[in-house]
Structures are given as C-alpha cells and as structure tokens.
C-alpha cells in the first residue's frame, strides 16, 4: 500500500528515461508549448527575450547542412538529458541540484541560492535562470497549473520530466498497490508529440517501449564523449 516503497529498497522500482526518434520528429514544436502550459514556464516578453532571457525547458534545434540547392535540415528536440553522471550536480553547494534514486536530476527551487554554477557546468544549455520576477498579466494566471510551483527570481529551473505527473502516478499506483504501467504516464511534451517521436517510460522495465527503443542500433546519446550518461536516447534519421 505504500506508494514509495520503491524508494526505500536497494534497487529503485523506476528509472525514468526518454527516447527521441529523430526520424519521426517533424519540428512541429508542439512539445515546446505543451511544456510551457504544463510547467508554468513564464513568458519573458520581447525585451527580456531580446536579452536572451526567454525560458524554454524544451527546444527544437535545427541544423542546416549543405548549400542551396542541395540543402538539408535536421531537427533535434533538446531538453534536460537527466544525466546519470551529471555535471550540474557536484558543483551545486547546497544540493539544490541533486540526483534522485529514480535517475532524475532534481532541481529543488527552495534550496537554490542562485550561484548559477550548475547552468555553467551543463553542456546542453538546458538550465534556465530567473533573472527577473516572472509576471502573468491577469487573468492569464488562472491557467497556472497548481501542481507545479512558480519559480521566483534568483532560482534556476529546468525540465523535470514532469515530476508532478510522476508523483501523481506513483500515488495512484500506490493506492492500487501496483506498478505504474508503461504508457500510463507521459510528460506533457511526449503526450502532445504529434509524430510520436518522444517516448517516455521506465528503463528498469526491459519490456517498456522506451527500453526497447533505447536498445535500437540507431540510438545515440547527446555529446556522449563527455561521459555524462544521459537518460535520453536519440534515434538517428535513417537517410
């Protein structure tokens, strides 16, 4: 009946991971706004965006290749890779950035004193700092998701794999005394992904969709030579 037995045992019940099929991704960017809507990511506004203070927990990077007329583009959604040996974690003096037993790089907002060391250490540029106090022009604030806290000025934030959804699912599973079944739990980006390029799940379950995809020969880790051991696997395009 305990929804969190898994976290006390020797081997955690879950190890969250994501697989991104670049052969499916069409650059539609549904994930970008879906994340914004789910996680109360503030809108920077034009001036702050011009000072490159816009916050996007997930972005779609595009890479031009070749010259007209033989020009190619490759899309790559980039978000926190939830590394197993994460550069952001050891540098944080207060453990605001730390590793959970389920393989997440947690960012504990209330513990963050704003040294911004983690963001400098992150090779993926997926950590964002609240340089200004976020504002929502009323009544836009009525849309804010009460399951996610609102980050104030001076704290770091980043993709959490929608931890609020994970915790909710664990509570439900705990009530049933069961495991979270594969596919029942999705972060906002994966749920919205129109071409089904983002697949989320439990890497400890060898039969989960994400585990199967992560074993694909097309699979590769982002900046793998840095040895950060990300929980996100990118499946390359097939052409």
């Amino acid at each position: 009946m305990r929804q969190d037995d898994n976290q006390t045992g020797a081997t955690p019940a879950y190890k969250w991971g994501m697989a991104v099929d670049l052969d499916r991704c069409t650059g539609c960017e549904a994930c970008v706004v879906a994340c914004r809507a789910e996680n109360n990511v503030p809108t920077a506004g034009a001036e702050a965006a011009a000072r490159s203070r816009a916050i996007h927990w997930i972005r779609v990077e595009r890479y031009w290749d070749g010259e007209f007329p033989d020009v190619r583009v490759r899309y790559r959604p980039v978000f926190c890779q939830q590394c197993d040996s994460a550069p952001c974690e050891p540098v944080c003096p207060t453990y605001a950035s730390y590793h959970t037993e389920e393989g997440l790089n947690a960012q504990v907002y209330n513990r963050c004193i704003g040294t911004r060391y983690c963001a400098n250490a992150c090779p993926y540029n997926v950590r964002f700092f609240n340089f200004d106090n976020p504002v929502w022009e009323k009544p836009l604030d009525l849309q804010l998701n009460p399951d996610v806290s609102i980050r104030e000025v001076g704290v770091m934030e980043k993709c959490t794999f929608c931890i609020q959804r994970i915790n909710e699912a664990k509570i439900d599973a705990g009530a049933m005394g069961t495991r979270i079944e594969d596919g029942a739990l999705q972060p906002a980006c994966a749920q919205s992904c129109t071409a089904n390029a983002l697949v989320f799940g439990d890497l400890n379950d060898p039969e989960s969709a994400v585990s199967r995809l992560s074993r694909s020969p097309r699979g590769e880790k982002l900046l793998s030579d840095l040895g950060t051991a990300p929980s996100v696997t990118y499946l390359g395009r097939e052409d």
Partner: protein, 196 residues
Amino acid sequence: MNHADSDRMTEDLLRPLSTTSLRYRVALVAFGLVALSGLGAWGYQMYFGIGVSGLNWPVFWGFYLVNFVFWIGISHAGTLISAILRLVNATWRGPVTRFAEAITSFSLVIAALFPLIHLGRPWLAFWLLPLPNDRGLWPNFRSPLVWDFFAISTYFISSALFIFLPMIPDFALLRDRSAGSKWRVYGVLSTGWRRR
C-alpha cells in the same frame, strides 16, 4: 642618537594616531559615500532581482566573479611581497611588509564580498556554512564553491595573524603613550607585551 631624539621620532610617527586632520575627515566622508553607494546598488539588485546585473543566458557568470578573482590576486601579491622580503632577509623590509600584509588582509575582505553579491538570493548565503540544522541538510562538500568558502576563510585567518603578530610591540608602544579607552584597546591588542 640620544633618548630625546628617539622620543621626538616616536612622537612624529604616532601623531596621525593622536590627531585627526580635516583632510582626513574629508577623505573619510568621500570614501564612506563610495561604500554607501555600493551598498545602495547591492540593495537595489536584491530588491529588483539579479537581472539588473545584465548577466544573461547561456553565460551566467560575469563581472562579480571576475572582480572576486581580481581582488584575490591583489591579496596574493601582498603575501608574495612580504614573503619574498622575509626569504631574502632584507633588513629594510619592516615598513614594506607591513603595507603588503595590510593589502593582503583588506583586499581579501573585499574579495569575499563579491561571491555574495553574485548570488541570485544572497540572503540564503548562510546555507554555504556547515551549520547543524534539524532538517539534516548540509552543504555539498564536493562543490568548489564550498571549497572556496573554506579556502578564503583559512587564507584570511593566516594573513590576519601575519599582520597582527609583528604589530604587537607597536601596540605596546601606543598603549604606553595613551590613556583612557585607547589605553584599554591598545592594552588588549598588545597582549601584555613589555619592553625590556
């Protein structure tokens, strides 16, 4: 050189400590204002958020930490000078080392300010200290920032000793020539030093 001469010399040396000129007061006020405006600016930054510092994504560190390193460098210079003079055993080093060690300690104090100013939420800086607390939370000793904290404090203590020890006889001299509250203060600082 007879006793009277050396007395006059001492008088001359100690005069700045006994009398304060107008020029001194002006300087005090001027620099005081500089310091105040700095504090005001820091308060302003805390009030409106670190954003006013003009730092941006994706390079999050800037002027403050550069400044920190700069002042650390200055203090190292002080240590270097006094150390070298001691090593080569320069007989004339006395006044120079005093200056150098003063530079070391005071620029270190200034340097230590900047990591605080750099923080997004400086009022929580005390979380860098290993304070026992009922939540069982400690600083992350793997973090270079925590090393910084210990390194700086160690360096400060040692260099403070460096400048303090040689000053003890001078404090004694002052004690002997002063009275009242000054006498008490110099008395403590001279740690009961007696001239033979």
